[in-house]
């Protein structure tokens, strides 16, 4: 294990280092030596948000005010604001989120970034939402690009991209402390400090989140996390930004029903370092290095495994069946990225970049070997924004990617945007993207070892052959983005169509007669989804905010390996209403309705869970005490009562996943 692993890592590290030096040298040659008099370029291209009206794809922005009024504790719950999105809880502390449906707890069609760096799991390709090492307070805003966006973010930007952008230390409160206490054992706390000295700016956050999860399940989780971000202005044109994040989790996991829960512990450490050079808002390049590591320990000793077996089978075994289940794994990710934003003329802007990344996983249990499993990817991308006629923009981009698992390929995107009149834009776009299979889908080799004579000593669950290729999607959309400042209303409406092919399912598991074989990932299904989405933002009065989002989708799928057709909700509605009153009072209601759907790994044949109405209510009061601003808020989650989440109830599954009303009180102080 030890030496082989280190040699491999040193080799790739050297490659990455040489690549960095090369890229930095190339960029210095491009540097402009225009005289700049002292003030740093603050609003660089990467900090300036593209106007939603001119974006080549449908974008949803979740800002701080929405986050504050949402009444959520978990970041994943913020995705309920996105039309078409579904957020479900696999257990009380295991949220799963998807922008389109067609997903399970390891939804791997969503690219999730923190400050531009991908944070999805290298092993499962999914997103461990409950383990993000940032607090809700650390977030400045979240930008969600809906629809395939391979051209900018590569593989895994299959259903869309969620980019979580943290607050800039230069724009932060000096001190902020928050404490949350409530039902279901809710005990959260965060402490954040931010400061600046001369050319340094930094922010440090420490926090914890704990609750007992669903009442009928053993799914309590404690997360302790911290993050540090420091920015340094080297000179007017160059700045360095570094971020360090860690999280430590302790969680109960019910692997098998009718057996005790196992205790999972994990820790993660992420770091990213970026050097930026800006000549002006329109001319910037940056180089970024990141390193992430995660390890999880999940051990369960079961004195007698028989209760978990089918009763008929259990009856055949006259002696107790002890079993030690161990599902430890560790992952590492190292990457280097370079991006350049440049405006060439008043009508022409380009973005270009390259990335090199290495993902590795080590898990004797999952891969049946103590060798490190690695995957290496290289990608190059570019896009052009060209105003070729007054009120007409052409935005074209493409990404080319090579990776260890799947065939190399292009992900193109093209969009045409026309300003019908000021404040009203029409967009027509086409894009394609790929989802590279995760390590788990390509190379997993695991099963259940029982102390029984062969061939019953090992029941394979997954036997990966490495033959699965990328899933593909082609999508087109027509969108209309409008802004009516006279009535303080803005929004967008969109028609979309998405054609998925090569969707992966696990097939071929045979436990009926020896030789037993595990399932293998194969590209099996196709699915077509089309529909409409709409978002409206309205501020009829200075302290009143209404936000409405809705979607309608029709799905048709071959449904051979997995039932995709009913995994996409026919409709979703999200409504946020918030009102500020005199004396610092504010009230908000955050409602979402998702029509019937199923999560693809929820078992129970192909049955769907009924429509879910989800409502959070929040009442808050802010007041000042000296130099401190204090806010006290009471939140009631699931105000409409309980519902079954993720799974159907017994007899399909004895998992009682029942989300109930829970209330909590949150106090925060700012200085």
């Amino acid at each position: 294990m030890g030496s082989r692993r280190h040699v491999g890592r040193r080799g790739s590290r050297r490659r990455i280092l040489l690549a960095t030096l090369g890229m930095v040298a190339a960029c210095s040659a491009l540097a402009d030596d225009e005289d700049v008099s002292g003030l740093p370029i603050v609003l660089t291209a990467s900090r300036v948000r593209q106007s939603v009206a001119e974006a080549p794809a449908a974008v949803t922005v979740i800002d701080r005010e929405m986050i504050r009024q949402s009444g959520v504790r978990q970041i994943a719950d913020l995705l309920r604001f996105v039309p078409g999105a579904v957020v479900g809880y696999n257990d009380g502390n295991w949220p799963a989120a998807t922008l389109r449906g067609m997903s399970g707890a390891f939804a791997s069609g969503l690219q999730v970034l923190i400050d531009g760096v991908s944070v999805y799991s290298p092993v499962f390709g999914g997103m461990l939402w409950a383990e993000l090492p940032i607090s809700l307070d650390d977030i400045d805003h979240i930008e969600i690009v809906r629809g395939p966006n391979g051209a900018s973010y590569g593989a895994n930007s299959f259903q869309g991209v969620v980019n979580i952008i943290t607050r800039d230390p230069a724009a932060d409160d000096r001190l902020r402390a928050t404490a949350t206490v409530g039902g279901d054992g809710i005990r959260d706390g965060t402490l954040r400090v931010a400061d600046n000295h001369a050319a340094w700016r930094y922010r440090a956050t420490l926090g914890q989140r704990f609750d007992e999860g669903f009442a009928e399940r053993e799914d309590a989780m404690q997360l302790t996390f911290g993050n540090l971000r420091a920015d340094y202005q080297v000179d007017p044109q160059n700045s360095v930004s570094a971020a360090l994040r860690f999280a430590d989790k302790r969680k109960q996991i019910e692997e098998f029903t009718r057996l005790p829960a196992s205790h999972q512990t994990g820790d993660k450490l992420d770091m990213q370092l970026r050097w930026s050079h800006a000549n002006s808002t329109d001319d910037e390049w940056w180089v970024q290095f990141y390193h992430q590591k995660f390890s999880q320990r999940d051990r369960l000793f079961i004195a007698d495994f028989r209760p978990a077996l089918d009763p008929a089978v259990a009856a055949l075994i006259p002696f107790p069946l002890p079993l030690e289940l161990e599902q430890d794994y560790a992952t590492w990710r190292d990457g280097l990225e370079l991006q350049s934003n440049r405006r060439w003329t008043q009508r022409l802007r380009t973005v270009a970049g390259a990335e090199v990344r290495r993902d590795a996983a080590l898990s004797g249990r999952l891969f049946a070997t103590n060798d490190e499993q690695t995957t290496f990817l290289t990608r190059v991308f570019g896009s052009v924004e060209w105003i070729f006629a007054p009120a007409w923009i052409l935005n074209a981009g493409a990404l080319y990617e090579r990776n260890s698992f799947a065939s190399n390929g292009w992900s193109p995107r093209i969009a045409l945007i026309h300003e019908l009149m000021p404040g009203h834009n029409l967009r027509v776009s086409y894009s394609a993207a790929r989802r590279t299979p995760a390590l788990y889908e390509e190379k997993a080799n695991y099963g259940l070892a029982l102390p029984l004579p062969a061939p019953f000593n090992f029941f394979p669950i997954i036997t990966g052959s490495g033959r699965a290729d990328s899933e593909r999607v082609h999508a087109a959309d027509v969108g209309y983005v409008f802004s009516l400042p006279e009535v303080a209303l803005n929004g967008d409406v969109r028609w979309f169509t998405e054609r998925y092919t090569g969707l992966i399912s696990f097939r071929g598991q045979n436990l009926n007669s020896p030789p037993f074989t595990g399932g293998d990932a194969v590209n099996l299904d196709a699915a077509d989804v089309d529909g409409y989405e709409m978002t409206l933002n309205w501020r009829p009065a200075p302290r009143t905010y209404v936000r409405f989002a809705a979607s309608i989708a029709n799905t048709a799928s071959t449904d051979i390996g997995t039932s995709y057709t009913n995994s996409v909700p026919r409709s979703t509605i999200a409504l946020l209403v918030s009102q500020g009153f005199a004396d610092g009072w504010s009230a908000a209601a955050n409602y979402q309705r998702v029509s019937e759907m199923r999560w693809t790994d929820a078992g129970s044949g192909r049955l769907t869970i009924p429509p879910i109405d989800h409502l959070n209510l929040r009442l808050g009061k802010t007041f000042t005490a000296g130099a401190y601003e204090i806010e006290v808020a009471g939140v009631l989650q699931n105000a409409l009562g309980h519902y079954r989440d993720y799974y159907l109830g017994p007899p399909a599954s004895s998992r009682e996943n029942i989300a109930r009303r829970v209330a909590f009180l949150q106090v925060s102080a700012r200085y």
Binding site: L43, S51, A199
Partner: protein
């Protein structure tokens, strides 16, 4: 009483002698302290303009020279142009007439020097507020608010701000800070109410360190910044109103020409020519639609200051 008469007569004589000197200026000596490129550019531009206008005029440019200079016998025929705070404060120009270009805060009347005119670097607040009113057209007669953050010394330059604002249908909110560390929070408070943040030259509030907070806090609140220099525009101000070194140099040259032709010259002057700069990317990103810079400049020129 006698004392007063003496001073009055001396002033008149001084004035008259200045007048007689006027026609005889044969040499112009430009002194720019070793401050920054803005000052240097102004000096070079002025030298070029003067030489082009009158090749017989002896123009000497001491761009980075020691500002302490001894006047000699030809002092009446020589005119000094002092550019920048340092040159103005330290140069010994004897009895020669002086034209000064400098920031407002350094403009202290010096009775020892025969000052022809002082030209400020900054724009008059009335003009800045005029531009602000063009950027924020009032809606249904609702007054829009602009915000200004100042340090105690710069506060005296914005005392008339509220009155000037009212004349232009703008509410002006002025917030004062006592140290650099308070700037970020002051900006955050101001942008809760203001739809535009006006940056007024002030070393404590707007410097290489604080400008990050100023621009980022206001940007995140969706509030554009109206800056006072090309550097501020480049840093991320949505719009800037400033005079280029060449424009100020031209104004100084005009003053010198008028003086030599015995025409009257105002003792203190604001810049006559200026540029409106727009950072298109930032403006766009804030969802603002603005007319072209030239259109704004024309409108601004027609407005009363």
């Amino acid at each position: 009483m006698k004392y007063l008469v003496f001073i009055a007569v001396a002033s008149v004589l001084g004035f008259v002698s200045t007048l007689t000197q006027a026609a005889e200026i044969r040499a112009v000596r430009i002194l720019a302290g070793d401050e920054n490129s803005f000052v240097q550019k102004m000096a070079t531009a002025l030298a070029d303009v003067l030489r082009q206008a009158d090749p017989t005029l002896e123009v000497e440019l001491t761009a980075k020279g020691n500002a302490a200079d001894v006047a000699d016998a030809d002092s009446e025929k020589r005119l000094f142009v002092l550019i920048g705070e340092r040159a103005f404060g330290t140069a010994d120009t004897g009895m020669s007439p002086v034209v000064a270009l400098l920031p407002q805060r350094a403009a202290v009347a010096d009775s020892r020097r025969p000052l022809v005119s002082m030209i400020y670097f900054e724009q008059p607040l009335a003009r800045v507020l005029n531009l602000a009113s063009l950027l924020l057209p009032g809606r249904d007669g609702r007054m829009q608010t602009v915000g200004i953050v100042v340090s105690p010394e710069a506060q005296r330059f914005v005392t008339a701000a509220e009155t000037l604002g009212r004349e232009r249908k703008l509410g002006v909110r002025v917030e004062s800070v006592r140290s650099e560390a308070d700037v970020g929070r002051a900006i955050a408070r101001v942008v809760e109410e203001a739809k535009l943040l006006i940056a007024v030259p002030d070393a404590m509030v707007h410097n290489a360190n604080t400008v990050q907070s100023v621009l980022l806090v206001s940007y995140h609140a969706g509030v554009p910044v109206l800056g006072y220099s090309a550097a501020y525009l480049r840093a991320g101000a949505a719009v800037a109103l400033y005079s280029t070194p060449e424009q100020l140099a031209q104004q100084a040259a005009d003053v010198i020409a008028n003086y030599r032709a015995n025409k009257s010259v105002a003792a203190t002057q604001w810049p006559r020519r200026y540029v409106v700069g727009i950072n298109a990317t930032v403006v766009h990103s804030l969802g603002m639609t603005l007319p072209d810079a030239e259109v704004l400049e024309k409108k601004l020129a027609s407005m009363k200051e």
